[in-house]
């Protein structure tokens, strides 16, 4: 054993120097974008040798950790308001998008066959419309045979960004929802059962006849669930596709959103999917280590430039180019180390 000690020590020293030699950046937060961040990190490490360690602990945890400066960046599914950003000395930008899609399990109804107006969707989740053959549903779906079956609402049981986006939409379009329920990652649901995670909701929806729930777009697509068509702000009927999510983001008024605080639900544009959401990255405006700060921004810059195909492969929606330009301008303007701008490109 004694003879081995020098070897052990040399090995340890080598290991630590090797570790210190490669740059590694760390982040924590939202679970929703985790698969695409992991995929990007993998490809980025192969190209540049820079390691990214992302812990998907939830948006709340991500915000707490970036505030405590235990990570280089935080990630959240819900944006922080300008006031909060300034109070914590943070900036944020949207990095990737997704959307929420209502899914149903009703005998005889195929994907994208059922059409729901905003009011109908709100009234179903408020527990006011309780049967599938309700005259209001029939009026929006002439020619569709609707069964005389009770509606079971399925919602998320865990706090989640998906619920935040979904309730934010209902809050915008229904005064009653705003008064009775509101917007949050977990709300006091007027009706229904709760599943844990997208997989819990989808299992319940596939299990319970006559149910309606909401899941991430990618999840609905990969599990071939029965999605519905929604009526957007312009009054058009739209289906959930990558292009309808991008339409919502492209038509959104980012230029007049202080601190990129913009929720992509109920955006104008005839092709816009009404329940779209972005996932945000948070970093400190004043950075101690300029090299580290540059490494973080370089990663996200690389993701904007080369990550679109990978994101689409996982059914995520890339940020439109006009928004990416605004984000990079913000980096150059706001993120500083020792009074110097970190991002000069």
């Amino acid at each position: 054993m004694k003879k081995m000690m020098p070897f052990v020590i040399t090995a340890l020293v080598l290991a630590t120097t090797a570790w210190a030699g490669t740059m590694s950046i760390s982040g924590a937060g939202a679970t929703f974008p985790y698969p695409v961040y992991a995929k990007w990190a993998n490809a980025y490490a192969a190209q540049t040798g820079v390691q990214l360690n992302y812990q998907s602990i939830g948006s709340g945890g991500g915000i707490a950790q970036i505030k405590a400066k235990t990570v280089d960046f935080g990630a959240s599914d819900a944006p922080l308001t300008k006031d909060k950003l300034d109070a914590f000395g943070l900036v944020q930008w949207p990095q990737i998008m997704g959307g929420v899609v209502p899914v149903v399990n009703v005998r005889g109804i195929a994907p994208n066959q059922l059409k729901l107006t905003p009011t109908l969707l709100a009234n179903i989740f408020l527990g006011k419309v309780t049967r599938w053959n309700d005259p209001a549903i029939a009026a929006a779906n002439p020619g569709l045979k609707l069964p005389n079956k009770g509606i079971t609402v399925v919602h998320r049981a865990d706090g989640s960004g998906t619920t935040w986006i979904f309730t934010n939409y209902l809050d915008k379009i229904s005064r009653e929802w705003h008064r009775l329920v509101g917007t949050a990652k977990a709300v006091s649901w007027p009706t229904g059962v709760g599943g844990k995670g997208n997989e819990g909701v989808s299992a319940y929806v596939q299990r319970i006849r006559g149910s309606i729930g909401y899941v991430e777009f990618a999840y609905a697509l990969q599990n071939r669930m029965t999605t519905v068509r929604l009526q957007n702000r312009d009054g058009r009927w739209v289906t959930a596709t990558i292009s309808s999510f991008q339409a919502a983001a492209a038509n959104a008024d980012w230029a007049h959103a202080p601190g990129f605080y913009l929720v992509l639900t109920d955006q104008p544009g005839e092709k816009s999917w009404p329940i779209t959401g972005a996932s945000f990255i948070l970093v400190h405006t004043s950075q101690k280590n300029p090299a580290k700060a540059r490494a973080v921004l370089s990663f996200f810059n690389w993701a904007f430039a080369h990550g679109d195909a990978m994101a689409k492969g996982l059914d995520y929606v890339p940020i439109p180019d006009n928004v990416v330009r605004m984000i990079k301008a913000m980096w150059a303007r706001r993120i500083r180390a020792g009074g110097q701008s970190v991002w000069a490109k």
Binding site: G58, D158, T183, A184, A186, G194, K196, G200, A203, R207
Partner: protein
């Protein structure tokens, strides 16, 4: 001379052992106290805002910041009750079978199988419960229960509502399955400790297996049997993942066992990660405090009961 050295080194070893044992035991107490103090500190905002009313308020609204523990406490108690009502008699029967009835060649593999059940991680029970057990329950068991009890006044309310396969009953059944191996293994060990002489004497007087159990084994092992029950209770009360999968996760107190509900543990598992608002977080921590106090109270009640049992059996002898 040599002797004294030997003694002193022995004394030192003893002192070391003594110190280590006391330290290890004290560690448990310190951890327990630290946990309690930490939970109280963490739940202060919620304690101050809601006071004792937290315990019987059924509200749970993260948007308006109005929280109450009633639905979670109710769900924890009811699901645990269902689990114990099923698991305790069943594990007693299995233990008796293993000790008294089964041939050792059969008892060993059955006992082994039960120990393997105890080693299955709870998430597996949860997934199995959601994807296999719940559909079966919804298609076969729940409609049958409704058909049988549909006209019985009180039972009808217990089994009302659409049979979804998820809800309080499913959670209780899964819990029963998870508690079963623990209580069975303990009860088997307790029953094996009953001296052969006593059993043979009873058999010699013409007692049947049932009578031997009733009059000899049960009184002899009463302490251990009740202890096994309480261990099962603590396990059911704190079980998290499996329950979260099948209980339906709704902050509501419903009369029907088919309806969805929640438990303290499932609420924590569901909502802790995304509870960013301080009051919300402290309400969740207070739920943890409530669970800790509930477990302590049950342990206390168990000890009191055991004490009385012991007195009675001694008086009887």
């Amino acid at each position: 001379m040599k002797l004294s050295i030997f003694r002193s080194s022995r004394g030192r070893g003893d002192a070391l052992f003594h110190g280590a044992a006391v330290g290890a035991a004290a560690l448990v107490l310190i951890l327990m106290a630290g946990l309690f103090v930490d939970l109280v500190i963490g739940s202060r905002p919620s304690l101050e805002k809601f006071g004792l009313g937290f315990l019987w308020s059924a509200a749970w609204n993260p948007v308006t910041g109005n929280f109450g523990a009633a639905s979670s406490i109710y769900g924890s108690l009811v699901s645990t009750l269902i689990a114990l009502v099923i698991a305790i008699p069943l594990s007693l029967l299995i233990a008796l079978f293993l000790v008294e009835i089964a041939h050792p060649r059969l008892a060993r593999p059955v006992g082994g199988a039960i120990e393997i059940l105890a080693a299955i991680p709870s998430i597996i029970y949860g997934m199995w419960g959601l994807f296999v057990f719940a559909p079966y329950l919804a298609d076969h068991v729940q409609p049958a229960l409704q058909a049988v009890f549909g006209k019985v006044p009180v039972a009808r309310a217990l089994f009302s509502g659409p049979p979804m396969g998820i809800g309080m009953l499913s959670a209780g059944l899964i819990l029963a399955l998870m508690v079963l191996p623990f209580t069975t293994a303990l009860m088997r060990d307790v029953l094996q400790l009953v001296p052969r002489v006593l059993k043979e004497a009873a058999a010699g007087m013409g007692s049947t297996t049932w009578e031997i159990f009733r009059k000899v084994m049960a009184p002899y092992g009463s302490r251990g049997l009740v202890g096994a029950g309480f261990l099962g209770l603590s396990r059911a009360l704190g079980e998290t993942m499996a329950v979260t999968f099948v209980i339906g996760n709704d902050h509501r107190i419903a009369a029907s066992l088919f309806a969805s509900g929640n438990t303290i543990a499932s609420t924590l598992a569901n909502e802790f990660t995304e509870a960013s608002n301080p009051l919300y977080l402290s309400a969740l921590i207070e739920l943890g405090l409530v669970l800790l106090v509930m477990t302590l109270l049950f342990q206390l009640a168990g000890h009191l009961w055991l004490g009385r049992l012991e007195k009675n059996t001694r008086g009887g002898r």
